[in-house]
């Protein structure tokens, strides 16, 4: 063995355990690194909403306590990102198996003038019968988007328009706290793992509570 190789091995023997320790710490300490999505726990936005379901009933975040809520905004006349995000949401629920019952997927339209309650209902059901499509007036849509830090803007195209918008999905824990922001390209397997982690953390807390 030459001197160069020995030096490399020495470096490895010191660095190896150090790297392993860092990896384990990152995986166990409850920091952001155990999730695939970005940990935004404690965010001072996206606290609650008051929107209408396709039946005209007002829904708010508190209605879904005990479930993880996946919330995202979009528009139905969208050929690309929105159907992909809805498809991923439905796939995430399937991947969770029985735990899928404890995930509520909510789609909020940024285009209430075109996305009527009937279209909302039919569209979300095409992906998963339990996805909830919510809407409100254009004015309240703007207020809600702002409160959830969702950017959107109408852009004319041909005789119609398209909408630029944030392509983020938010995940709330079963206690209704905003926990994660998930990018549109995160695969369903990773989203399902994050949902499962939020469900697990919640049931652990429940068990630890004094009776």
């Amino acid at each position: 063995m030459n001197a160069g190789k020995r030096a490399h091995l020495r470096a490895l023997s010191v660095l190896g355990p150090l790297l392993l320790a860092l990896f384990l710490l990152g995986g166990c300490d409850g920091g952001g690194s155990r999730f695939h999505g970005t940990d935004i726990s404690g965010a001072n936005y996206g606290r609650d909403f008051a929107l209408l379901d396709p039946d005209g009933k007002t829904r708010q975040l508190a209605d879904f306590r005990g479930k993880v809520v996946m919330l995202f905004f979009g528009f139905i006349q969208c050929p690309d990102v929105c159907p992909t995000t809805l498809g991923r949401a439905a796939e995430t629920r399937r991947l969770l198996g029985a735990d899928g019952e404890r995930l509520q997927i909510i789609f909020v339209t940024l285009d209430p003038t075109r996305d009527s309650p009937e279209i909302l209902r039919a569209y979300t059901a095409a992906f998963d019968a339990d996805i909830l499509g919510l809407h409100t007036t254009p004015e309240k849509t703007a207020e809600t988007a702002k409160a959830f830090r969702i950017y959107y803007r109408k852009v004319p195209t041909g005789s119609s328009y398209t909408i630029d918008h944030s392509a983020i999905s938010y995940l709330y824990d079963p206690e209704g706290r905003l926990r994660l922001a998930v990018g549109h390209q995160t695969p369903p397997e990773a989203v399902a793992a994050d949902v499962a982690a939020l469900l697990r953390a919640s049931s652990t807390t429940d068990e630890e509570q004094p009776r």
Binding site: I76, Q77, C78, P79, D80, V81, P83, T84, L86, G87, A90, R114, S116, E118, I119, A122, Y123, A126, F127, D128, Y151, V155, T157, G158, S159, S160, T162, D164, H165, S166, A167, I168, G183, H184, Q185
Partner: protein, 149 residues
């Protein structure tokens, strides 16, 4: 060595001049995303390969009042879609129109696009030498819940 360039040139000329319908442009795996009742817009996707440098300059669909070539891009976490005047089809390159990239935006739909139906589309391709070719295809509709990636 000396005979190679002329031979290649003759071969290329033969390919370009071959009188086969759509000999220069091949379209595969075309599909349209199905819609729900009253939905007015959707996307069409496909793979296009041209044997010569060309551009997709126009798309028409009888079911849509307007059809545009769109480019999807991300600006941070913001999704943007913009109409582009033409889509470059470099010689020999398999240009894919797919979710997350380019697509054909079908606007002002006059009818619902149902799963398992086919949508006739007309594509106009212009070669670098200015020749126009019109290609008619039938794009099957894929169910909303079943994504094509």
């Amino acid at each position: 060595m000396i005979f190679r360039p002329p031979a290649a040139a003759v071969f290329a000329a033969l390919l370009v001049a071959a009188p086969v319908a759509h000999g220069e442009v091949r379209i595969t795996d075309a599909w349209v995303r199905a819609t729900v009742a009253q939905q007015k817009a959707t996307g069409a996707f496909m793979k296009i390969t041209s044997t010569v440098d060309a551009r997709l300059v126009e798309v028409r669909a009888t079911v849509a009042g307007e059809a545009e070539i769109h480019e999807m891009s991300m600006d941070g976490d913001r999704m943007k879609m913009r109409a582009i005047p033409a889509l470059a089809l470099p010689a020999g390159k398999n240009v894919e129109l797919k979710p997350g990239g380019h697509h054909i935006m079908l606007l002002n739909l006059s009818a619902r696009i149902e799963e398992n139906s086919t949508t006739p589309l007309t594509l106009v391709v212009e070669t670098a030498t200015g020749e126009r070719e019109t290609i008619n295809i039938d794009a099957p509709a894929r169910a909303l819940g079943k994504q094509g990636h």
